[in-house]
């Protein structure tokens, strides 16, 4: 049975990635927790090999035209990377700076944006917001390319404040207009049309002759403000620290209410938010420092199974459990189709608010998709993850009593903190065929099939829906 060290590390890996195999957890068990966190905070030391492999073996899948394959590759990297936090931070910023593919239908620009998040996701918020404001996909998505000196389009200015940094209630309508005016002239080079040549990148372009150089006042600062000045003011606000802290808390610690409620309802754990705000203010907005404070805090360590898995996490945890494929394979393209059916179309959120999370991931339709997908992953007992669990259970030589059979499956598939009700139901089912035995080939085959079936039920249980 799992020790506290294993359970804590399993929790950490579920949150910074999509979980870990038992072999991986055992390898981490003796390493000091803070040291593991420090390594996770530096993902740049572990580049993802998969893109090169895909280019070589499956060039058609790696096409940038439509981001379906890229979404699957993202899940693959989360499941197989030695440094999942870089991938998870990219996902975090994608949740916050939700940019949809459907408006531009320009895959290369969306992929470029996610790649930027991979690179700067643990950096300083000032750099993150600067990169975001210069990102062609964002410039198009929120119409800043239509924001001109003589004709303001305030879409980006508004959402930068409302959804990307400070949250509603911390600025006025006049501040929105000033921010919009400051970002006039921030646009992108028209890309070469996607067809017939395939994906071409576009790039940021600043046009001074289309910039409004008149005086503006934004949150108390007055002058010929440009976009950089707006971002400078924003990142120094405690409201920004609080808003980003709440996002990080909701994404990594425990489900918060949906964003529109934040200006009215207090956080679930105000002290935790205060700690994160303090880390932000002390480091001048260094996200790595805030994440260090978060991952090493007691409030994080004790918040187990307090978040509903996002569709990506559900799919990722199930393929990680099956532990297949470990090298890129065409079969992975189905993964982002699966998250789509569960309500999360990667790189194509429904609106700039991003996805509603937590309980709102769950309804009759999405629960059906989640259960069916997870069951399908463990159905084939030849998959390495299932084989690993079978050989661990068989290692003692048997016989394994029904109660121990259920405990071991819950333990090795997580460990999953199943309720007494769930354990009892599974144990009654296990009892119908008596203890697991491994005396001869036939018994081994039967026991393997029973373990596979038990794992299908384990990933169907209510507790499996939580991370």
């Amino acid at each position: 049975m799992a020790t506290e060290a294993i359970e804590l590390r399993a929790h950490l890996m579920r949150r910074v990635g999509v979980g870990a195999t038992r072999d991986e957890l055992e390898a981490l068990a003796d390493q000091p927790y803070d040291e593991i966190v420090e390594e996770l905070l530096h993902p740049e030391a572990h580049p993802n090999p998969s893109a090169d492999l895909l280019d070589r073996y499956f060039p058609a899948i790696n096409s940038p035209d439509v981001p379906v394959a890229a979404g699957s590759l993202w899940i693959f990297n989360l499941a197989n990377s030695g440094a999942p936090l870089g991938e998870k931070m990219a996902l975090f910023w994608h949740h916050v700076f939700a940019t949809g593919w459907f408006k531009a239908e320009h895959g290369p620009a969306i992929l470029h944006q996610i790649e930027t998040f991979r690179g700067n996701g643990l950096g300083n918020l000032r750099q993150i917001l600067l990169d975001l404001s210069r990102d062609p996909a964002m410039l198009h998505w929120l119409d800043n390319s239509e924001n001109h000196a003589d004709q303001i389009n305030e879409n980006y200015g508004r959402e930068l404040l409302e959804l990307f940094s400070m949250g509603i209630g911390n600025y006025s309508e006049d501040d929105i207009k000033a921010a919009a005016r400051a970002f006039t002239g921030w646009t992108f080079e028209q890309p070469i049309p996607l067809y017939p040549f395939g994906g071409y990148d576009t790039q940021f372009s600043y046009r001074d002759d289309d910039h409004d150089h008149d005086e503006k006042t934004f949150l108390g600062r007055t002058g010929d403000l440009n976009g950089e000045d707006i971002i400078d003011v924003i990142v120094g606000q405690e409201a920004t620290a609080r808003f980003i802290a709440r996002h990080l808390y909701s994404f990594f610690v425990a489900d918060e209410q949906q964003v529109p409620a934040w200006s009215i309802d207090p956080p679930r754990d105000p002290e935790a938010i205060d700690q994160l705000v303090a880390a932000y203010m002390a480091s001048d907005g260094d996200i790595r420092a805030v994440m260090r404070a978060l991952l090493t805090s007691d409030f994080f360590k004790t918040a187990r199974f307090t978040r509903v898995k996002s569709p990506l996490e559900l799919v990722g945890s199930a393929v990680k459990l099956a532990n297949w494929p470990q090298t890129p394979d065409p079969a992975i393209t189905g993964w982002s189709v699966a998250t789509d059916a569960m309500g999360q179309k990667l790189m194509d959120p429904p609106s700039v608010e991003g996805w509603h999370t937590g309980k709102e991931w769950l309804d009759g339709g999405t629960l059906t998709e989640r259960v069916n997908f997870a069951v399908e992953q463990v159905m084939d007992t030849s998959k390495p993850g299932v084989q690993s669990i079978v050989s661990r259970i068989a290692a003692a030589g048997g016989p394994v009593a029904p109660g121990a059979f259920v405990e071991q499956c819950l333990d090795l598939a997580g460990p999953i903190a199943a309720s007494e009700d769930t354990r009892r139901v599974l144990e009654e089912f296990a009892s119908e065929d008596g203890p697991l035995t491994f005396g001869n080939d036939e018994e081994c085959a039967q026991s393997e099939a029973r373990i596979g079936r038990m794992l299908q039920l384990v990933v169907s249980c209510p507790e499996y829906q939580f991370a």
Partner: protein
């Protein structure tokens, strides 16, 4: 229970996400202010489909205009509320919860569903098509069903051995029936799991029982409205249907996007009514189409920004067709904040209208108060 066509009255809600441009749907094309305000996205007088001396339909609404001319459409002009929010998300929350001044997570249609089915006996009393559940249908203890794909709806569908699958489903049911409460989210999850099983059983045969001569378009709103007909005609007791059509947030490229969406929407609505009539299942249905806000009066050179004073549309066989409430004044001295249409009727009164006059329910607690209603029905359930 009041009946119509021998059946319980049914409400079909169509949500247009992003903010449909009301001013470019029912167009005040003869006004000089319209011309001046909309040099880029304006529609020329010779292109509109005439309605009266002042207003014309956008040319892409032809299928809806046909229903309107047949007397089946009540247009609610200038729908909105005080201090209209320009945030999509806050605005949509307000429309979903009927709470313009505070945050609520309880949806108005969930409250209606609670009144229709107080003991949650039928998980299909309210059905939403599409991924995820809109807040309008969400409330603790209220059971609603969300269907992503009606043709593949079920649990453990990959388990091939029938006996194993039945056993799995029985175990699933027990795992999702905890003996004691375990917290709000887990209780909700458990309830959702049990409802899936019940809903799966009820919906199993629906696709095979439906046939129709109507050929719908290949787009999400057409598919969703066809699914409404399939479930409604199966007679499973659904009283509230919810569908969504997204993409109306045209800050740019409005002249390209708006007509495409209007064509998809109005063709789908027209096919929907024809399909219901083919099945003698139209009389009991009323459709309400809404969006979270109208758009700014002046265009921005490519599209329009978020505004207020939108429109809603009530459609049905027994609707007294015509224009309701008043078209917001487009004279500059009347503009809200100097740039927006001023709403002329509160949306909660329109919800109240369909709830009280069509569904025969008391709307007061559902819409959080009493608001001015309109009289858009010739015949109602009795």
């Amino acid at each position: 229970m009041p009946k119509i066509n021998g059946r319980d009255p049914v409400l079909v809600v169509v949500q247009l996400s992003g903010g449909l441009d009301f001013m470019n749907t029912l167009i005040p094309h003869t006004s000089e202010y319209y011309r001046k305000s909309r040099p880029t996205v304006g529609v020329a007088s010779e292109d509109v489909l005439p309605l009266n001396d002042e207003l014309g339909w956008h040319p892409a609404t032809a299928p809806l205009k046909e229903l309107y001319d047949a007397g089946n459409v009540a247009v609610v002009q200038g729908i909105g509320y005080e201090n209209s929010s320009r945030s999509h998300f806050r605005a949509m929350d307000i429309w979903h919860t009927c709470e313009p001044t505070k945050i609520s997570t309880e949806g108005w249609l969930a409250r209606a569903t609670r009144d229709l089915d107080p003991n949650s006996e039928n998980p299909l009393t309210a059905v939403s098509f599409g991924r995820g559940l809109p807040r309008a249908l969400a409330a603790a203890g209220v059971t609603t069903t969300s269907i992503g794909d009606l043709d593949h709806f079920g649990l453990m569908t990959k388990v091939e051995a029938q006996q194993e699958r039945e056993q799995d489903l029985a175990i699933f049911k027990r795992m999702y029936t905890p003996a004691v409460g375990t917290g709000i989210v887990r209780d909700y999850l458990a309830q959702t799991g049990r409802d899936v099983l019940k809903g799966v059983d009820m919906l199993r045969d629906v696709p095979s029982r439906y046939s129709s001569t109507i050929e719908y378009g290949q787009n999400p709103i057409a598919r969703a409205l066809r699914d409404v007909v399939r479930v409604h005609t199966a007679g499973l007791g659904t009283r509230v249907f919810y569908t969504q059509h997204a993409g109306y947030d045209y800050h740019s490229l409005e002249p390209e996007t708006h007509p495409r969406l209007l064509t998809e929407l109005t063709e789908a609505l027209s096919d929907f009514m024809a399909d219901l009539r083919e099945h003698n299942a139209s009389e009991e249905v009323t459709v309400m189409v809404f969006t979270e806000f109208g758009r700014r009066i002046k265009d921005n050179g490519s599209g329009t920004d978020h505004g207020s004073g939108g429109g809603a549309y009530i459609i049905g066989d027994h609707v007294a067709g015509g224009l309701y409430s008043e078209y917001p004044s487009i004279k500059p001295e009347d503009w809200l904040y100097g740039e927006d249409l001023r709403h002329t009727i509160d949306f909660r009164g329109i919800y109240g209208t369909v709830l009280e006059q069509w569904m025969r329910m008391d709307p007061t607690a559902i819409v959080n108060g009493q608001f001015e209603q309109i009289s858009p029905y010739k015949v109602t359930a009795d």
